[in-house]
Amino acid sequence: MDIFFFLLFATVAVLCGISVVLQRHPIASALSLVGVMGSIAVLYLMLGAEFIAMAQMIVYAGAIMVLFIFVIMLLNAGAETRRGRSWMAQLLGVPVLIAFFAIIGYALQGRFAGVEKVKFGNFTGGTAEAVGMALFTDYLLPFEVTSVLILVAIIGAIVLARKEL
């Protein structure tokens, strides 16, 4: 069943990803991005990352995408106007991207031959308990630095969104 679910949600993720890139209207792109994030959350669950899957749904699909959609509605952003692109972008864009993907694929191929296959339930170290234990013992300093980062982001957002700027 693992292969079936992987293929199902991988297909959904790739189709929604293509939709993010191709949709002309930002709201349609944002809703496609929610689809990508939801299917990636299911894949996290299959990889044994329960806590990360829930955090993905709550933080990404819940909080960040709502922020995006608020901003799109606030700015009343319409469909993108089609513009003439430079001939180099039209001619070379897609081949260069395919070459980029081929380089990543080449770097990956044959490197994971002897590795055990992923099956649901063969790794149970991703519970909230395990993640919390690692976060508050081995990774305590990065965790505390993160709180400073968030404080800076809050102050930055407030300063930028002031009326008189």
Partner: protein, 114 residues
């Protein structure tokens, strides 16, 4: 049970190779790069950055599963935190730019050029 049905059942229960997850991650990352380079709306460009971050997170979690260690999950957690901070500040910048320039097209936001 017939021979063919049994082999089909074994294939279904075999599990997913780790490289499939990494290839999926590469596909999503390439899509994010494509959107980042080709789109002209600044909000869509920003969403494509989120797509790239998600693709990298997927490969982190896949490697965590491969090594049976929780470290990859911690990295994913930190990437999520940084993405949230980045979204808050970035969208505030977009709001300010729109207030001052009245456009979302990145071709027209070129004050720093030349």
């Amino acid at each position: 049970m017939p021979e063919g049905l049994q082999s089909a059942a074994t294939t279904l229960n075999a599990g997913v190779p780790i490289s499939w997850y990494l290839i999926l991650s590469a596909i999503l990352f390439t899509l994010g790069v494509a959107g980042f380079l080709f789109r002209r709306n600044i909000i869509t460009v920003f969403m494509c950055i989120e797509l790239m971050l998600n693709a990298v997170n997927l490969s982190f979690v896949a490697f965590a599963n491969m090594h049976k260690q929780v470290g990859g999950h911690i990295f994913t957690f930190f990437v999520m935190v940084v993405a949230a901070a980045e979204a808050a500040v970035g969208l505030a910048i977009i709001l300010t730019v729109f207030k001052n320039r009245d456009t979302l097209n990145i071709d027209e936001i070129n004050t720093l050029k030349n």
